[in-house]
Structure formats: structure tokens, C-alpha cells
Symmetry: C2
Subunit: 118 residues, 2 copies
């Protein structure tokens, strides 16, 4: 926890919300977007933190930055810098505690017939 707080002291990243203050509505509004769900799925599958640039997204860099911002505000990811790389960590344990089964249901599965065609 001390280490986590230290990460947040980086002035380039604003404070992260307490997941316990986040509503299901906020989480769903973040995850209804397919690009944001793709980011969370990539973090869920990788089991390690990923730099923004390493997640392949079909959007411009500024749009991607916006999506990461929304995910951070919704309590889904924690961001920190390593040098000049902005890293993303899925807040898996906190989300699982606040919204049991949600990550498993929404990001740990194939997307269904439409996405399967892609």
C-alpha cells in the first residue's frame, strides 16, 4: 500500500479514486466502450502491468489517452510512470471485491458472435 501511494505521488498522474466509492453505473459506462473493454481485457489476460503503447488499439494516441483516463477515473486501472512510459495496472483485487464476478463476466470471455467475426 505504501508502494502504491508512492506511485501516485508522481505529479504526472492524478490521484486514483477509492474503488469502494465507485458505482456499478460508473464501471459499466467505462466498460461499455469496446476500446476500453479491450484495454481491460489485455491487462486481465497479461497478468502484468502494460505500458500504454504496448496495447494495440484502433484509435489515435490522444483518443487512447482519453480511454485510459476514463478507466482510471472509474477505478479500473492504476497508472504510474517508469521513466517516460506510462504503465497501467488492472486493479483486479479491488474490483473483484467491490463487483464480484464483473471482470470475469465482461473481460475474461470471448465477445460473442459479432466480435468473433472480427
Amino acid at each position: 500500500m505504501a508502494a502504491t501511494r508512492q506511485k501516485n505521488k508522481d505529479a504526472r498522474i492524478p490521484a486514483h479514486p477509492d474503488v469502494r466509492t465507485i458505482s456499478l453505473q460508473q464501471v459499466l459506462e467505462a466498460l461499455v466502450d469496446p476500446v476500453r473493454r479491450h484495454i481491460v481485457s489485455a491487462l486481465y489476460a497479461s497478468h502484468e502491468d502494460l505500458a500504454c503503447g504496448t496495447i494495440d488499439l484502433p484509435v489515435s494516441k490522444s483518443t487512447a489517452t482519453h480511454h485510459f483516463h476514463v478507466l482510471r477515473e472509474a477505478g479500473l486501472i492504476r497508472q504510474y510512470y517508469v521513466g517516460t512510459s506510462r504503465m497501467n495496472a488492472l486493479r483486479r483485487d479491488e474490483i473483484d471485491e467491490a463487483f464480484p464476478g464483473l471482470l470475469r463476466a465482461l473481460v475474461a470471455r470471448p465477445e460473442g458472435p459479432s466480435a468473433g467475426d472480427a
Copy 2:
């Protein structure tokens, strides 16, 4: 199945989609709306089919009709008439098979701090 088909022959209700053709994206777009999530939660909790008018909603009748329509199109509910009452059945088994854990994660739990205050 025969009984289900018979219900759908009612010309007042269009055909229902096969849940296996529905994507997670469609389901999430339906359930991101709090009124629609409330309808599904009510059906999930009641364990029986409910007439449209028996689910208390903070919207006009025409808006409610729209929300039921979106849920039907997303494969979440099945509608049929009993006399002049339009009944709604949660397609629980089909959804559970296509999207394991989704209903439990999204509608079988408290909504979190924001909704808790309401």
C-alpha cells in the same frame, strides 16, 4: 419451445432474437442504462414474469415501452400478451449460457455507493 413459439405468434410482439446471435456489446449497451438494469433486476429478483405496468419506473409510459423494446432486441427479455397485459420474461437460462456470470454480476447485487444512497 412450442409454447414459446406460440407466444411469439402474437402479432403485437415482433420476433425475438436468438440469444446466440447477440454480442456482449449489444447486451452491455442495453444494461448500461440504469432504468433498463432496474427492469432486469426486478425480473431477476421476482423469479416470475411481470407485466410492464407492475415494475415501478421513474419514466413516462412511452419511455418505459422504449426501454422494454431495447431489452427485447438485446435478447434479455421475452414479451408476450395475456389479454391486454404485455408480460415480460427474463431469458435467464439462455443469457446464462451465452454470457456466464453476467446477470449475477450486473443485476443480482447492490448497485454500489451511489445507488445505495438513493
